[in-house]
Each structure stands twice: as C-alpha cells, then as structure tokens.
Symmetry: C4
Subunit: 208 residues, 4 copies
C-alpha cells in the first residue's frame, strides 16, 4: 500500500520529446550530405542542368528518406495516442527504435553514393525495415501492458496498425531480392512505398 502510493506516473511526454528531437535532427541531417552543385563552363542553362544532374541521386534519396521518416514519425506519434505511460522496458525498446532511426542519414548517404548497387539497396532496405520492426516491437509491448494504455484500443486499429507496421519490411524485402537482377526496380519500389501510406486506410475514421 505504501508502495502503491509511491508508484510513479512516468507519463510518455518526455519520451515523445526525445523522439521528436531525434526525428528533427535526423531529418535535417539528411540534407547535410548533399554536396553543393558546382556549375562550370559558361555557366549557362545547360551547364546548370548538368551540375544539378550530378546531384539528382542525392536529392532523390533525400526526398525518399525524408518522407519515409515523416511516415515513421507519424506512426510513432499515433502510438502515443493510445500509450500514455512508460516503463523501463518500453523506454529501452524506444531507444532501440531511435538507434536505427538515427542510422537512416547514414544509409541514405550510402544509397546516394551507390544508387543502383545491390549492397546499398540492401543496407537501405534493412535499415528502414529495422525501423519499422523495432517500432512494432515497442507498440506490441506497449499495448499488452494495460497500465501503459490511456485509451481503449479498438481491434480494428490493432489489425490495421499491424498491416501498416509490417507492410514496408515485406515490400523492402522484395526490393532487396529484386536488386540482384534489376536494381532500378528496387529503387522504384523505394520511391513508391511511401505513397502507399497515403492511401486512405481504416485508421482514418478515428482521426479528426
């Protein structure tokens, strides 16, 4: 009883703040690797196009990773609509998730330098998959500890969340497999996947 009186509240706000900070820095870090294009020759329109052309891989990878991190941030944010308290293991799983999120600028740079190489496609795909899987692990841990939840979790949301969490690891796995034969298809898959998350889904009706 005396102990119960001392139970800490451990609101999730601080973990969310750490996460928001990490996402903000990781997203801004993506761009730090973009080399400043050098326009040479007579510095006419075609020279400019040529210089930008040199940089297009970096820009493309920047945009993909930024939108992917945005979607992950959204998933991470949604999680805390249901989970309002934390404990040591939940926070530990959160740290693991943030650890792989912080690697995204690294694997983005690796992909930008080796766009159509199987190994860069693999590293990038594994990195993004680990992000989703570690976030899913945190989610599963959280929703099975009723004292961490602060809102009823409808079964429909549970099912849909599972699909959304596991969709991209599956798709990225396929992209990695294809990369040995047709790497440009793999890169196209990386471009298209974020768009899949824009399609209306069953969770939408719970949103304002």
């Amino acid at each position: 009883m005396s102990e119960e009186r001392h139970i800490l509240h451990m609101a999730s706000g601080r973990l969310e703040a750490l996460g928001d900070g990490i996402f903000a820095v990781a997203m801004t870090f993506l761009v730090i690797e973009l080399a400043s294009p050098v326009v040479t020759g007579k510095e006419g329109w075609s020279d400019f196009i040529h210089a930008m052309h040199e940089s297009w891989r970096g820009f493309l990878c920047y945009m993909i990773s930024f939108v992917v991190l945005g979607i992950m941030w959204f998933g991470h944010r949604m999680m805390f609509e249901y989970i309002g308290r934390t404990n040591r293991y939940f926070i530990f799983l959160g740290v693991l998730f943030y650890m792989v999120v912080c690697l995204v600028p690294f694997s983005t740079k690796f992909l930008a330098h080796n766009t159509l190489k199987w190994y860069a496609i693999m590293v990038y795909g594994i990195n993004l998959s680990l992000c989703n899987l570690s976030l899913y692990a945190q989610w599963i841990y959280g929703i099975h500890r009723t004292n961490l939840l602060h809102k009823d979790l409808p079964d429909e949301v549970k099912r849909e969340a599972k699909i959304l969490f596991l969709l991209s690891p599956v798709v990225y796995g396929i992209a990695i497999g294809i990369s040995f034969f047709a790497p440009w298809i793999s890169v196209s898959i990386y471009i298209i996947t974020p768009i899949l998350y824009l399609i209306p889904n069953k969770i939408d009706k719970y949103l304002p």
Copy 2:
C-alpha cells in the same frame, strides 16, 4: 457511436514540437558552413578586415536565411493558434513543408558560394517560395476542415494571411527574373523582403 467514442484527439502539439526541432536544427545548421576566417600577413587591423571581407558573403546569406526562417517559423507558429488538431493529410503537408525548410541551409550555402550567379539566385528563390507555398497549402487544408480548428478564424485574418503567405513567392519570382540582367538587384530584394514582414499589418491587432 462506438466509433465516435474512439475518435482520437490528435492534438497538434507533437507536430509543433517536431517543427520547432526542425527549425532549431535548420537555423543552427546555417552557421556550420561559415568558414573560419584566416588572418594572414602581419595580422594587423587591415589583415583582419581583409580576412573578414572574404567571409562577408557567407555572413550576409546566413543573416538573410536566419531571419527568413524566423519569419516562416512565426507563420508556422501563428497557424497553430487557430489549428489545434491534426489528421494524416495535414501532417503529410507538414512533412512536405519541413522537407523544403530543411533544404534552406543547402540553398543558402549554394548562394553564399555563387552570390551573384543567376542559378544560385534562382535555386534560393525557388527554395524559399516552396517553403511559403507548402505552408500555405497546409494552412488552406487546415482552415477548411472545421474539426481541426480550435478557434474562430476572422475573415480579415484569412485575407491578410493569404497576402503574407503569397507575398514572398511573388517577390522572389521577380527577383529570379531580374537576376538574368542585374543580379545585385535580386540579392538586394532578398535582403529587403524580410523587412517587409516587419511592417505593421492587420493581424497585429489580434496579437497581445
């Protein structure tokens, strides 16, 4: 009815926190590109002035971009005085806005290295215009979904906001056009534009 009970609140606080983090990092990143001046010769006053003179382009671009990002942050901050909840599409538009904001240190560096070149003026102007336009898109989406608003939006604010959002893309468009003939006028326009946002406007009377 059962569904209504489960509607998530989706307060905008988390998106604001992500945005504040991204602005803070982007604003601090601006300065990371500033090269440390190297004072040579007898290291007298004139050698110091000479060394600083080498860096003035970087400083000028730093200051312009910092103030411009400050003004954009203000617009972004104002938006959330009226909009208090979010949904998936609103957040997606927010991610797009943050994506172009994070590119500002990149285009600032490009402008600092090529101050009077038409292509640097164009890249910089397009970047800043995209920031304003994507923020405007988010604003328009937000104010037309009454369940995202948490405060009445007077028509006057709506009209004035439209002017403030669309003022700089127009001015930057003009600067880009002029850059082919008189690039120093374009740069002057970039310097002057932020000052336009300091002039008292109709929204002021709604502020404390």
Copy 3:
C-alpha cells in the same frame, strides 16, 4: 511576505526540454562520424563484407554509446519524476552534466579510431564516468532541497539510485585499469555494462 508572493515557480520542464534536445542531438551526432563504406573490386558479396568489416569498429562504438546515452537519458528522466522545480545551482549542475554528455560523440569517435588503445579506453571511460558522477551530483543536490522535490522519495529508491549511479564509474574504472594489460577485456566490459542496467532492479516496482 511580499517577497514570498513573488517566489518563482521555476518548474523543471524547461531544463528537461533542454536536456531532451541535447540528448537528441548528441545521440544523432554519434552517427555523423560513421564513414560511408566503400565497396571495391568486383563488388561481390565478399567485397561488401570486406568493406563493412572496415567499419565495424565505428558501428560497435556507435551502438555502445547510443545505448549508454539512452540509459543516462533514462536516469535523467527518472530524476525529474521526483524533482519538479529548479534553482540556479541545480541548473548549473545540469549544465555541467550536459557538457560531459555532449563530449560523448567526441570520445566515441576517439575510441572508434583507436579501439584497443589504452588511452582511448581511458578517455572514453572517464567521459562516461563523468556523465554519471555529474548526474549523481545533481541528483544529490536536488533531493536534499525539499522545495525542489514534488514527490516523496522512498528510501529504497534513494539507495538503489545510488547503486545505479555509481555502478558504472566503478566498472569503467576497472575497465581502464585492465586496458593496460588486456584492452579487449576493457572493450568487452564497455559492451556488457549497458546490459547490466537491463536487469530488473528495485526501482521497477515503482514504475507502471
């Protein structure tokens, strides 16, 4: 009496926000030093493994430091479950703590470049120990000023916290001592120590 009316509340929220920001940046900075692996030769599986092999030290140090910072963040976060207000000296001790936390990316890089060298092991161990000791100093100062506390602190938590705060400086001290004879044991200790903090402890029962 008139003075009492003016006593500031000085809620700890702002200091927590600064700390969350510093941890977020320091954790993301860790990865910025990771060099992009360069795959050479025929770019086959073995060339990829070889390139990754070159980077393993960086990855290992990244992962250790990330988890260690995660654990420190947890300790820092726990502190504010009991301490809800701040004063000038408490904040000053906080700044000292953040100062050594911000050095972790530096000493991680130093260790990654000199993995089995006694001096790198020493610098890294001292850095992490200083983090723990400065956080402990802040904790001790805070819990002895009753007007900073906003929750009763059970004696059991006090004792356990002391053990948890002082465990790693002792272990790191041993690792530094061993480094002169068997540096790979020291590095193993750095790998294992974070795991010790995952073992269930007496504070767990106060968590949700």
Copy 4:
C-alpha cells in the same frame, strides 16, 4: 468588441521550445569542431599527454562557451518566468537573439584556432556581448508591455537583471581592450566571467 473576442493568446511556450532547441543544438555543435587527438610515437603516457596538449585550446574554448551558453540559457529561461505571452516584435527580437547565439560555435572555433590573437578575442567578445545585449533588448521590450507579463516583476529583480545582463558586455569590452597588450589576461577574463554568475545574487531569494 468582436475583435477582442478574437485576440490570440500567443503563449510563449512555442518560442521557449524553439529557444531550447537552438541552445541544445548550438551547445552540442561546439564539440563537433574538436579534432580527435592523434597519439603518435610509442603511444606511451607522454605521447598521450603530448597529443592532448595539442587539443587543450579547443577543450578550454569548448568549456568556456558551453558554460556561457548555459548561463545565457538560464537568463533566457528566467525571462519567461515573468513573460508569458508574445507578439510579433517580441518574437522578432527573440530571433535576433537566437541568431547571435547560433554564431557562438563559429566564434568559439575562431578563438580556438587563434587563442591569443587580438582579433579572435575581439570577435568572441563581440559575439558574446551581442548575445547579452539582444537578450536584454528582448527583456526590456517584454517587461514594458504589461499584456505580455504574467507575473508581477519586483523592482529589485528588474535592477538586478539589468546588472546581470550588462555585466558581461562591460567585462568583455575590457577584455577586448586589454587584448592588444596582454591577450592572456583577456582569455583569463573569459574564463573567470562565467564564475561571476555563480556568486549568490539578489534574484536568488525569489528562486525555490
């Protein structure tokens, strides 16, 4: 009347969050410039001391700037104990303050590379003075607009704050003047000044 109903609250929380983020990034950025020491020769104790000796200027400047930014953060934090709302001009002054705060890593690096040179001492001193003066300008603006205040401001705090804000510009001005004759005295002043802010002052009695 209809307008009064629409007056925005403009709580200062967002500006504080931006500021906390900027301080967190600027403080962590300080360390990014510290070069990893290279230990050569037989890698014995004396070689290590020699390598660290090469880096001591960087470390010293890092520590001074970190503590100075900590003190400024404290001043910035105190300000918002009294000021609870913002308007456009107050935020603009805040952006100016953040602009010079973000330059501190730059001038710290400049000082670390040119420790005893008058020009580095001058740039560093001017940068820190501009931080204090712009924060003071924001404070003065804020306390003279009663609708921004959310707490009575005792005259004693007002007087003491003025001294604390203007103390370092004066001291730094003296340091700059001395730098032409005895630069090591100037650097000593930079080391000692932060300690002055640790001396008990009249504001302490309003703190918990």
